[in-house]
């Protein structure tokens, strides 16, 4: 998936005129990640085609949607605080009991985009007092290889670290390289990256104790949501936890496979033992591609 220079040129001109935002060449990945959800919502499979539609329509609402997607929807650290509070206050204490033999916690940050969620989790896990001998592994996946490279590099601009990252954690876990901030080697060693299209068959994956699948399902139709949830459940520990975005739920999508428990203002989804499995929920053909949209 590569954005054409025509589409990129149109979008960068638009956001420069409308919002004084400069998108230099090389930011094609950003345009793709931000506009893919809009394309999907419009029933269009590719960003190029979507941009062509916006251009042809010349409608202010369509142009505004593009501008908004590229300005206000920046990825932030600790995006929505509740899931991270649930992680430290409820999920980890329970896993310390249930995974006490294995002494290892495996976490999946699905559709990781540029990695802020994965490193937020890594910071919490590094600072959380785990008993001696416990290890943590975080797998960050995305469909975009550019996003995975950014995640792996763990290097962020000043604007990016301004978004929701507490200053004490910035100075503890990052150091400055030129004008950018580099995640510490300790955190980088905790996060592995792997390319994965959520809408397609999953490659071999570890068994996860915790899955962060946030703000992704909203872009899919119900049948694809069910399929993704079903495949996610199969790679989770029976005592695992699934955390979805604030506007997402397993309720009404896959009721028989998940138990829902409130944790503060957040809902923890837990796989039900012996859950009903409908083979029709696991299509081999991806319906749409899922990019990281954080």
């Amino acid at each position: 998936m590569t954005l054409s220079s025509t589409a990129f040129g149109y979008v960068s001109d638009l956001v420069r005129k409308e919002a004084a935002i400069v998108l230099d060449p090389g930011k094609e990945y950003l345009v793709e990640a931000r506009l893919l959800p809009l394309a999907r919502a419009a029933g269009i499979s590719g960003v190029d085609e979507y941009v062509a539609t916006v251009r042809a329509s010349a409608g202010p609402a369509e142009r505004a949607a593009v501008v908004e997607a590229l300005t206000t929807n920046e990825t932030s650290w600790f995006r929505d605080r509740e899931p991270f509070e649930a992680l430290t206050k409820t999920v980890i204490p329970e896993l310390l009991e249930s995974a006490s033999v294995r002494r290892k916690i495996t976490i999946w940050s699905a559709a990781c985009s540029s990695g802020q969620e994965a490193y937020t989790i890594a910071m919490l896990m590094a600072d959380h007092v785990l008993p001696r001998g416990w290890t943590v592994e975080i797998l960050a996946t995305d469909i975009s290889t550019e996003m995975l490279e950014r995640t792996k590099a763990g290097r962020y601009s000043q604007l990016e670290v301004n978004r929701g990252l507490p200053a004490p954690l910035l100075v503890k876990h990052f150091h400055k390289v030129g004008t950018q901030w580099q995640v510490s080697d300790q955190l980088r060693s905790m996060v592995k990256v792997q390319r994965l299209n959520l809408a397609g068959p999953f490659p071999p994956l570890p068994t996860f104790d915790i899955v962060f699948l946030r703000n992704v399902l909203i872009y899919f139709d119900n049948s694809t949501k069910r399929s993704i949830l079903d495949r996610t459940r199969r790679v989770m520990s029976p005592r695992g936890f699934l955390l979805l975005g604030g506007a997402e739920t397993t309720l009404g999508i896959d009721d028989r496979s998940w138990a829902r428990t409130p944790a503060g203002r957040c809902t923890l989804n837990r796989p039900l033992t012996g859950a009903h499995h409908d083979p029709s929920l696991t299509p081999a053909t991806p319906l749409v591609s899922a990019a990281g949209v954080r």
């Binding site: 300005t71 206000t72 920046e74 932030s76 600790f78 605080r81 000043q158 604007l159 670290v161 301004n162 978004r163 929701g164 507490p166 200053a167 004490p168 910035l170 100075v171 990052f174 150091h175 400055k176 004008t179």
Partner: protein, 129 residues
């Protein structure tokens, strides 16, 4: 909930005042650290909940202001956020050690300011959507 914006740039004061007002704060202003201490003193028993503090200002700089505030027990509830172009690791460490709660580096977006205040649990009523 009240906020005090301390910056020697009038433009930055306008920008910050607008953004904080949009988040529901009643906003006071000061152009340097000395003036800010005077404003705080004038609020008596009802000091603001938040001060945004520029680093480089004439008369009294932001770091000195933070240190001065932290020596006064009547202002212990005041949340201090440095909002500055100073972006070196060591400077952030110094500001936090002096008593600043958070640090926001210019340029910043309105969302970044809102994120910081969210982190600090500052939720004024009357925010404009």
């Amino acid at each position: 909930m009240r906020a005090l914006v301390i910056d020697d740039s009038r433009t930055m004061r306008i920008v910050l005042c607008r953004q904080l007002a949009r988040l529901g704060f009643d906003v006071l202003e000061a152009a340097d650290g000395r003036q800010a201490l005077d404003v705080l003193a004038s609020t008596g028993d009802d000091p603001p909940a938040l001060a945004t503090v520029d680093w480089n200002m004439p008369v009294m700089d932001g770091l000195t202001f933070v240190q001065a505030v932290r020596q006064q027990s009547q202002w212990r509830q005041l949340t201090l956020v440095m909002v500055t172009t100073e972006s070196e690791h060591g400077q952030i460490v110094r500001a936090l050690a002096a008593g600043a709660h958070e640090y926001l580096i210019k340029p910043f977006t309105p969302e970044a300011l809102a994120d910081k205040l969210e982190l600090l649990g500052l939720h004024p009523t009357g925010a404009v959507a």
